[in-house]
Symmetry: C2
């Protein structure tokens, strides 16, 4: 822990800070205005099928960048970015289960690994907060709650599984404004996919998320659901993939892209 360290304000400063390996917490409030990304690293044998999966499921899996096999760099996403060290925490998956959580993957790197960076709701969260919309999960310093739904993703090859959604409780007027704001950012999951009636998408208990931590929905609020970048993790589990590396809970890649680079209007 390095509590006294200043919060990095640019994508590159955040990566250089995280590369030191001291901080393993959430990147939620880091480098406001810079695009953050979910990470999925797969052997080349799975890469085409996974890219097809992303193309068929653009709301949970908006592709921001794909590396060359074996190359830990993604220069279009960040100057001197090293995908093996620049996230606070990584999950190593074996046969569809979490086998380890580690602060770097230098020892696990292989010449056939391909890195996929997918858009993340932290990006539009910054846009929501900039418009004065308060997000309880951020104020409470916990990862947003996310739920597996009864909505299947469109399969591709060996990849199949449920759509995962993140939930933010919002006052109705803020839910409308948040829909408008997040619509501008299809590269960060875009508009919500559901609101108001969680049981319709197979969510029985808002207090028991599969990912992240529960957050209260007050009487004057409705739950608003966005497609979530944890979907590939549910898919890796459901598909019992032999090997995969992802980001940890709420520990994202921070890029050099600005949020405005993702805005479609």
């Amino acid at each position: 822990m390095n509590v006294a360290a200043p919060i990095p304000t640019t994508g590159r400063a955040a990566r250089l800070y995280l590369r030191q390996g001291h901080y393993r917490g959430t990147t939620a409030a880091m480098a406001p205005g810079y695009v953050q990304g979910n990470l999925v690293i797969l052997p080349r044998d799975f890469a085409l099928e996974f890219l097809q999966f992303c193309q068929r499921n653009p709301k949970p899996c908006p592709v921001l960048g794909v590396s060359e096999p074996g190359d830990p760099r993604l220069p279009k996403l960040g100057q001197d970015l090293d995908i093996r060290t620049d996230l606070p925490l990584y999950r190593v998956w074996r046969n569809g289960r979490i086998a380890a959580e580690v602060s770097d993957i230098l020892d696990l790197w292989q010449a056939d690994l391909v890195s996929f960076v997918l858009g993340c709701s932290f990006s539009f969260d910054h846009a929501l907060m900039a418009e004065g919309i308060r997000l309880r999960y951020i104020e409470e310093g916990t990862p947003a709650p996310a739920f597996a739904t009864n909505i299947p993703t469109t399969p591709a090859g060996r990849f199949h599984g449920p759509l995962v959604v993140s939930m933010r409780p919002l006052k109705p007027a803020d839910a409308i404004r948040a829909t408008q704001i997040s619509s501008r950012f299809p590269g960060a999951h875009g508009a919500p996919i559901h609101l108001g009636l969680p049981q319709l998408i197979g969510i029985k208990d808002l207090d028991r998320p599969e990912f992240g931590c529960p957050v209260e929905v007050k009487e004057d609020e409705i739950p608003v659901f966005w497609a979530c970048g944890a979907t590939p993790q549910a898919v890796v589990a459901t598909s019992a993939l032999p090997f995969c590396i992802t980001h940890g809970a709420a520990t994202m890649l921070i890029t050099d892209l600005r949020l405005s680079d993702l805005a479609i209007f």
Copy 2:
């Protein structure tokens, strides 16, 4: 009644048809793609205050056109438009109450009357239906239910009163899509102002609208509320205005403007 008549498909054809005075019903499904408008006609003495009222309350009162005093034409809204004859039904208000409903206002016309045409949700309803969103009130052939809320408008001079909202029951995913679509049309009330929790805006019973007819909200739907062009009628009533003419229930002015003319993106 002229049941066998073809439904006019352009704004001008609709006006010429309605000018004949045989049809007094809703304009909801007429001339799809053409902008429809709410009508408020006031003596010149009230015109400036009303225009200030509209400027301060743009969601219920988006101004599409204002006539010269005494001139029944609004050439920018329609070729050879005559505001005295081209709506199916008019309401004549005296001292804040409906004194009569008439099919033209030729006998009531005065040299000091100013006509205000305000955007109408029928315009974005066409856009919603074009995207495959079904609207029960249109399928049932009744005027959309509208409710006075506990949200006050911003007063101007002698004009004050509650915000009125129209309600459409929608499946959650359609509510999100409808928010996106209607956001493109601030000239037709724009995005919803509320959804999901009617009691928070002072609506106690969805089965008892102040305007229009009730419509069922099914178990897999949420009520979605848009600012409504009936707001000026509630304001005319609350303000006990000595004299005013408006459109009748769901009987709008149909203009030559295309919906795309109102789209901001």
